[in-house]
Symmetry: none
Subunit: 216 residues, 2 copies
């Protein structure tokens, strides 16, 4: 598949800009646990996952880690190119979580085109905004965390009731049980899935790590 | 002073776009404690502070507050215009903290120009990035810093903002800024007082030992 399939904004660029970006892109196969980016000084470029998984996390002085978000197939990793964002001043570590196949676009080339291209600048805006939304969500969880507890305990109760670790229930139904909008349920379930506690299938939720759900 | 002084990016726009933005801007005088923006549905527009102060905060289901950041003279408030940012999906409350003089630019007009103007889109990028940086800083504070450090750093920031070592603020208000119950604030302030770093008066906090507060 071509780069365009992963980066549809290319269709909105001028022919010239599109060609420059396409030519600059490098396809890379990265081994599991490769560190793509480490802190503010590092600026490899925009990173587009063809398939694989990447974890973006931060680490305290004392070595404690927290996952900020994870990226999967077709996701675009912006913070491996922080140098192109003037006001970004935070350190993140970006690391593959399995063998990962990806495109790289060098930061300086992307930045030059973004400076003069409204479509590319607006696309970048959308990327930052969606990462920002994930971080705000995380902040909310950390500050007020109660919904994760409620959802985990609901899933465990259901599992006990049904006598099965595979629950046939929609996100909407759970939302109705817990008094939360469906989107909130979906978001938290996806977070649980990212953390390897559940697996989501169409209309089904499989509990994978009962022990951790209980711990929540 | 003209709008251009507060929004230098206007100089980089086409004559036509600049005029449209300038004409759309409305100068407003807002009373203390005016809520400019309340949650995701609200989209008044871009808000540029001529002079005054604005607090951007979030609130839990249980009514607990935490300040995300504060804006002062010449700062630009982007999240009062979240509708123009496609992927922003978080609720914030934006409220004046004193009588505030500001320009408003309607979100739809800004958005239309941003869609076709690379300079305006890139400027917006920088705005989001700097707010993002502030939120990441906050996340860091909450995750890895203990409350004594956060409180000391809040008191020092306040003192710098007010240009005074006597702060007129209640424990409740500090709690709302930092996302902690009033009792926790009071306890820590009393500890600070015992240690001779502050002196507590009715409704006032006097910073006595700036040096030690900084050391915390």
């Amino acid at each position: 598949m071509e780069l365009k399939e992963y980066l549809p904004v290319l269709n909105d660029l001028s022919e010239e800009d599109r060609l420059v970006l396409e030519k600059s892109a490098i396809r890379k196969k990265l081994k599991n646990r490769t560190i793509i980016h480490n802190g503010i000084e590092d600026c490899s470029g925009l990173f587009i996952i063809v398939n694989g998984e990447v974890r973006v996390y931060t680490i305290s002085d004392k070595g404690k880690e927290i996952t900020i978000y994870r990226l999967f197939d077709r996701d675009i990793c912006l913070f491996s190119a922080t140098c192109m964002l003037k006001n970004i001043q935070f350190d993140l570590i970006i690391e593959t979580q399995c063998d990962t196949d990806a495109y790289f676009i060098p930061a300086d080339i992307y930045k030059n085109i973004m400076a003069k291209s409204a479509p590319l600048a607006n696309f970048t805006n959308e990327l930052i905004s969606s990462r920002f939304t994930e971080v705000m969500w995380l902040l909310d969880q950390i500050l007020w965390k109660s919904f994760d507890k409620r959802l985990a305990s609901f899933l465990l109760d259901e599992s006990a009731i049904e006598g099965s670790e595979i629950l046939k229930i929609t996100h909407e139904e759970i939302g109705n049980h817990l008094g939360n909008p469906r989107e909130v349920v979906t978001r938290m379930l996806k977070y649980f899935q990212n953390e390897g506690m559940v697996k989501l299938h169409r209309g089904l939720i499989e509990l994978i790590d009962i022990k951790r759900l209980k711990k929540i």
